[in-house]
């Protein structure tokens, strides 16, 4: 087993190498891969942001929300309506969406957070079920365009810098969504990190571990929870804006606007590692990879898949996705980040300084 | 004759070793007390014997090696464990608590229920109340009665006096004493209140950081100056 001293030359070298590798990878994707791949990463970024927003609520306060698809939808629709009907520039819709979702989030949180645990899960599930019906409601059609949704939402062209990947006649929207997604992801990550390291963050963790004790120590439990729920809602709305900008479409049946969306965000968070900063990132990348790989398994597959599923003319994609999720949970019950830490500790240990 | 004999009993929580090789023996009909400070490993010893935590070494009960057996089968062999904090089923009624205590038995349990209601009249008065609504002392009585419903040969009793008023504690110890002396029930008792425990015990083990540091019959331990000063407050 390798031992590395914290702050030593080797430690720094490893760190620099990691950062460089990630940076090269980030630039390589939009400049050298096909449009579909770029789009997959853009949608991974979107999902990661949504899972991060849930992580704030669940990972750090122990509360479950299955209603975040509604906030995602609020973001998506805010962007689409402002751009199409009011001629806004896409960039500004982020602020509008964040503010609207924050207000709605706080309004929902104030009464709802009295409810706990599994009850809260089911109440927020109701929010997720209600939201698409509301979008389709005849009385709101003037705003939401009803069941057919809003399409052909414009996006901004990026400045033409070669390393951004805009050259070579690539699909501008995918590249735009990729970089914008990355930017918002970094901002969302920094917000979450800041929240957790701050005094508020510590009080959050206090709430998760013991609410009564936190109250006794002078943490305003209700206000903190409502505030966090609002912030989480606006982060999720940012993901919704991104999704609208990258696909140009938003409908009441869009998979992230419905209950399915909430479930996917939760899956990503738990698979990656609930309550860890990097969990949603790992979870999001793995989920999008799994989803695309299994989706690629058609009904005419050969090899092992063809051998096992030759009897059906339906795609086994979802079944394999389900099985994969079960396997991940069996081997990494606390998430992939936990598994990764456990495995890497067997290979390398970083020794703290001064020991 | 030896009813329970542990040899080199070890247990740990995660990376932390809590029991570092405990040797204790309970003979048929004896009342044995384990004394020690908080964190010495008293409760862990009890849990190791009743099989609620992973452990290693050897535990021989009535000629059977039980260190590899789980809690469910150990009850069937005749060890009943009254856990610390009582562990009553608060959503079940008092009578249901007693019935579930006799889960392993196939025969009729009505006469046993009657008997414990006679021994603890206050439980009889509250037999259709939820156990969660009882006072601390009543819950402790219920926990002991529930354990005895399985007709054990060895009763493990973990700090029954915790949080109880002195009068209630005395009543409880009176019952334990008469069970032990009149019915020949073997008891392994963990107790913080050493003065009280020494009065009813035959044999005493003194635990410190996961090891037995002294043992002997109750009189000699009570007479030992060093032990008196360290554990018995004078």
């Amino acid at each position: 087993m390798l031992k590395i001293k914290e702050g030593s030359v080797v430690h720094w070298a490893v760190r620099v190498a990691c950062v460089l590798a990630i940076a090269i990878f980030i630039v390589y994707i939009p400049t050298h891969s096909e449009t579909a791949r770029i789009g997959q990463f853009a949608s991974a970024f979107t999902l990661i942001i949504a899972a991060m927003s849930l992580n704030l609520v669940l990972g750090y306060t122990g509360q479950i929300s299955i209603g975040h698809s509604a906030f995602f939808g609020i973001g998506g629709y805010t962007a689409a309506i402002l751009i199409r009907d009011h001629g806004w520039s896409p960039g500004y819709t982020f602020y509008a969406a964040a503010i609207i979702a924050f207000i709605v989030g706080c309004l929902i949180a104030m009464p709802v957070l009295r409810i706990r645990g599994a009850y809260l899960a089911l109440v927020t599930l109701a929010v997720a079920v209600l939201f698409p019906t509301l979008l389709r409601w005849k009385k709101l059609e003037w705003l939401t365009s009803g069941a057919k949704g809003i399409d052909s939402v414009k996006y901004d062209k990026l400045p033409v810098w070669p390393f951004l990947g805009e050259l070579k006649g690539r699909d501008g929207r995918a590249v735009f969504a990729y970089w914008l997604g990355l930017l918002v992801l970094v901002i969302a990550f920094l917000i979450c990190r800041g929240l957790i390291k701050s005094r508020v963050g510590r009080s959050l963790i206090a709430i998760r571990d013991n609410e009564t004790a936190a109250a006794v120590m002078g943490v305003n439990v209700t206000r903190t929870k409502v505030l966090i729920f609002g912030i989480s809602a606006s982060l999720c709305a940012l993901a919704g804006v991104l999704s609208t900008l990258s696909t140009g479409v938003v409908t009441p049946d869009g998979q992230y606007v419905t209950l399915l969306g909430s479930i996917i965000f939760l899956l990503i968070m738990v698979v990656g590692g609930a309550g860890t900063l990097s969990g949603p990132i790992i979870g999001g990348l793995v989920y999008v990879w799994l989803d695309n790989t299994t989706r690629g398994i058609g009904t005419d597959s050969r090899g092992v898949v063809g051998f096992i599923f030759g009897w059906t003319n339906q795609s086994p994609a979802t079944l394999i996705l389900g099985l994969a999720l079960i396997v991940i949970m069996l081997f990494a019950p606390t998430g992939l980040v936990g598994l990764f830490r456990k495995l890497s500790r067997r290979i390398v240990t970083i020794e703290p300084q001064g020991q | 004759m030896s009813l329970l004999q542990t040899t080199g009993l070890r247990a740990s929580y995660g990376q932390v070793d809590v029991l570092l090789g405990i040797d204790i023996e309970v003979n048929q009909g004896e009342m044995v007390v384990i004394l020690g400070a908080n964190g010495a490993g008293k409760t862990t010893t009890m849990r190791a014997v009743s099989g609620t935590i992973p452990r290693s070494g050897s535990i021989v009960f009535d000629g059977h090696e039980i260190v590899t057996q789980n809690a469910e089968s150990i009850v069937r062999l005749g060890i009943a464990h009254v856990p610390q904090g009582r562990g009553t089923f608060s959503d079940l009624t008092v009578e249901e608590n007693l019935r579930i205590g006799a889960y392993i038995r196939k025969d009729s349990v009505e006469s046993d229920i009657e008997r414990w209601f006679e021994t603890f009249p206050r439980l009889g008065e509250r037999k259709s109340q939820k156990a969660g609504s009882l006072s601390g002392g009543e819950q402790q009585m219920l926990a002991i009665a529930r354990a005895l419903m399985s007709r054990p040969r060895l009763l493990l009793c973990d700090e029954p006096s915790l949080g109880l008023a002195p009068l209630v504690t005395q009543e409880l110890f009176g019952v334990l004493k008469s069970l032990n002396q009149q019915e020949g029930l073997s008891v392994l008792l963990v107790e913080q209140n050493a003065n009280l425990a020494l009065k009813i015990a035959n044999k005493v083990y003194l635990l410190e950081t996961g090891q037995v540091v002294a043992s002997g019959d109750a009189e000699s331990i009570a007479g030992d100056e060093r032990i008196r000063r360290a554990y018995l407050g004078g």
Binding site: P316, T318, L321, L330 | A71, V75, P83, L92, G101
Partner: protein, 299 residues
């Protein structure tokens, strides 16, 4: 008045089905503290099994019994093999596993029974146009009466199991205090697996009843029913079987009343929404449902 009676009666039959599925959720929640999001899909899958066995020529009533046994095995098997080992290490993991079961079962059903237009499901009860009695002016169809009777009978049996048998006592003891249950010798593993099994078997029956009423069987059979059932379980209190039944029946009736009497501007689409919003309001007043118990936490 006739209209009102008709709505109430139809509502009772649907409500009984919601109550059956909701009871399944409650049995699992009481035993393990988890929500089984795959409850509806397990029921759907079992209903396909029932259809298949019936299609092979076995009488429907026998097929339903076999389907319920299959459901028991499916539920108990899922608990014993996957749920238990994940639950020990991460409560969030159980959510993922139940969603994975949801996805997997739905996909598997689509693969095995792949006719796009679905399958024709027979009803357990007489179901011709003339099969009804008229009571107080309302049409009481035999199939609805049958559903109501079967569902109520099964609930009755379940209450007897819970309150009168040793096994029921063991189940309640595991729900109340798992550690102490082990100490008195209750085989908690067996009990937990059985709770999942019983829940899934009840789901199988509710699926067969829904299929019989609809006359049609597709993999999306239980989506809406599951939403109503989870609403019923929440409304009644997740740890209260009696609450689940009362809430299930009320939601069934409420749904029919809203659909029948609601002003035009609400529309059929918002039928479900009205039910959910009402539940919302109830929960704001009583955060653990109408009949659920609030756990008192000690610091």
């Amino acid at each position: 008045m006739e209209r009102l009676l008709q709505y109430v009666f139809d509502g009772l039959s649907f409500g009984a089905i919601y109550a059956l599925l909701a009871l399944g959720l409650v049995v699992v929640f009481r035993g393990t503290g988890h929500l089984n999001f795959a409850q509806g899909e397990m029921a759907m899958f079992c209903t396909f099994i029932v259809w298949q066995i019936n299609d092979w020529g076995v009488p429907l009533i026998l097929a339903v019994a076999i389907g319920m046994l299959f459901g028991f095995a499916l539920g108990a098997g899922a608990e014993a093999t996957v749920i238990r080992s994940v639950a020990k290490k991460s409560p969030g993991g159980v959510f993922v596993v139940s969603i994975a079961l949801f996805l997997g079962l739905n996909s598997l059903a689509t693969m095995i029974w792949d006719r796009a237009e679905g399958y024709t499901m027979k009803s357990l009860f007489p179901n011709k146009d003339v099969d009804f009695v008229r009571i107080l002016g309302a049409e009481w169809r035999y199939k609805y009466i049958g559903v109501l009777i079967v569902a109520l009978a099964l609930m009755g049996l379940l209450f007897l199991l819970f309150s009168k048998t040793k096994f029921g006592l063991a189940m309640r003891s595991v729900a109340s205090n798992p550690e102490s249950a082990r100490l008195v010798g209750v085989p908690s593993g067996l009990v937990l697996a059985s709770s999942w099994g019983i829940a899934a078997a009840m789901g199988a029956l509710s699926g067969a009843l829904v299929g019989g009423i609809n006359g049609q069987l597709t993999p999306s059979l239980m989506f809406a029913v599951f939403i109503y059932a989870s609403a019923a379980a929440t409304l009644g209190g997740l740890d209260s079987p009696g609450g689940a039944v009362i809430a299930g029946l009320s939601i069934g009736i409420g749904e029919q009343l809203v659909a029948g009497y609601a002003p035009g501007w609400i529309g059929q689409d918002l039928k479900l929404s009205v039910a959910l919003i009402l539940i919302f309001v109830v929960l704001l007043v009583k955060p653990s449902g109408l009949f659920g118990s609030l756990k008192v936490e000690r610091v």
